[in-house]
Assembly symmetry: C2
């Protein structure tokens, strides 16, 4: 809404350093966040932060809008909701999410926590968050609605199967993020190959147990005929 022109024309590295410092500090609630911590973490002076944003509240509202716009543009809009293979669909969205998390490590948690706080605590920027959450939910719903359930074995509960797949993916991401959080510094890109490799194996097992058997006659069970969408990695 307002003009944060001066801030937005900063060199991207500095800009995102400030954004990440602020989002991370706001993770534990608006009130508990300290502007002193933000500027220390971002490596800028306090005057500069208030030069750009005026007040702590305007900074917070800017972050909400920025996070929403970013997640929309670089995640929600890129998800292919018409992908009939739910495993491919979730795999693709996990990749997108991971890419975004590398640039903005706190962005998803920031939005989630802010939404929870907005609903329970003091009134901060509720409208945009409410709309955004509804939009996110709708996209997830659509992904599941467009899933081709005929790919699944006939004898299993399809809803339960899709839930299990979803929880497995988020559980795996969560475990991996936890793990990488222990040794910071050159971690993300370093372990990324191993990460993808493991992830694909998990995916293969899910495919193996939930999908109908393909009519491939090759003896190796490893080689299953599917192609993963190539996404910016």
């Amino acid at each position: 809404m307002d003009d944060f022109q001066k801030f937005l024309t900063l060199e991207p590295e500095k800009r995102e350093r400030i954004i990440n410092a602020a989002m991370t500090e706001f993770l534990h609630g608006f009130k508990k966040a300290s502007t002193d911590n933000i500027v220390r973490e971002a490596g800028i002076s306090k005057g500069l932060l208030f030069h750009y944003f005026g007040t702590k509240e305007r900074l917070f509202n800017f972050l909400i809008d920025y996070a929403i716009d970013t997640v929309k543009a670089e995640y929600l809009d890129l998800v292919n909701i018409y992908q009939p293979d739910i495993l491919d669909s979730i795999w693709q969205s996990s990749l997108l999410k991971k890419d975004l998390s590398v640039r903005f490590p706190s962005i998803f948690d920031f939005l989630t926590n802010s939404y929870v706080e907005a609903k329970t605590g003091v009134g901060v920027a509720t409208d945009n968050l409410e709309r955004f959450t509804q939009m996110s939910d709708k996209i997830i719903t659509e992904i599941y609605a467009h899933a081709d359930t005929s790919l699944f074995r006939d004898d299993i509960d399809k809803k339960a199967a899709m839930n299990i797949i979803g929880w497995t993916m988020s559980g795996y991401s969560h475990a991996k993020i936890m793990e990488s959080g222990e040794n910071p510094g050159a971690d993300a890109r370093e372990n990324y190959d191993q990460y993808l490799e493991e992830f694909e194996k998990i995916l293969g097992v899910l495919r193996q147990v939930f999908y109908k058997k393909t009519k491939v006659e090759s003896g190796e069970p490893e080689s299953i005929n599917y192609k993963l969408k190539e996404v910016t990695v």
Copy 2:
């Protein structure tokens, strides 16, 4: 270690109200926790809190020890690590965890976050947390070590299968906790039946896809021959 006798002989309801208020407030870190918030949430005066615990730091250390002892006595010690059926094992531990979470809603997060903070932040009570975490890890390891992998289908990666099962369980719990958090008040016990029902269905699907087919000739695939351990519900 120290004598918190006076506090521990309080009426249980008041005692646990204070403990829960404090654990919840400490969720976002030792420094950011405010004793004023704790006493307001617990419904006691500030003088009383400091009468019992002396300093904020002693309160925190007490909470760490209390949480560790409680989780050990009411969770870790009750888990049957010799249960060969990993699905039963995880199901049982999920029930125990849920029971403990009803009494102390923040206890697991409190320990997890405090451990993370202890390793990265200022030095607070690192020793006990380190030992406790190692003990927890060891038990999880033992559960998986005692799992009878011959129950699994021969053609799937057993490690991957067990990971998927674990993530599914934690993912389901997490989703349910989120959901129940939205409408507080008489929620836990109310939705508990439905919760168990859904949970059992999920469990059934996992059993269906990961386990070897049992030689039951009954046409209905719903009726699978297993018995869940009865745990205090």
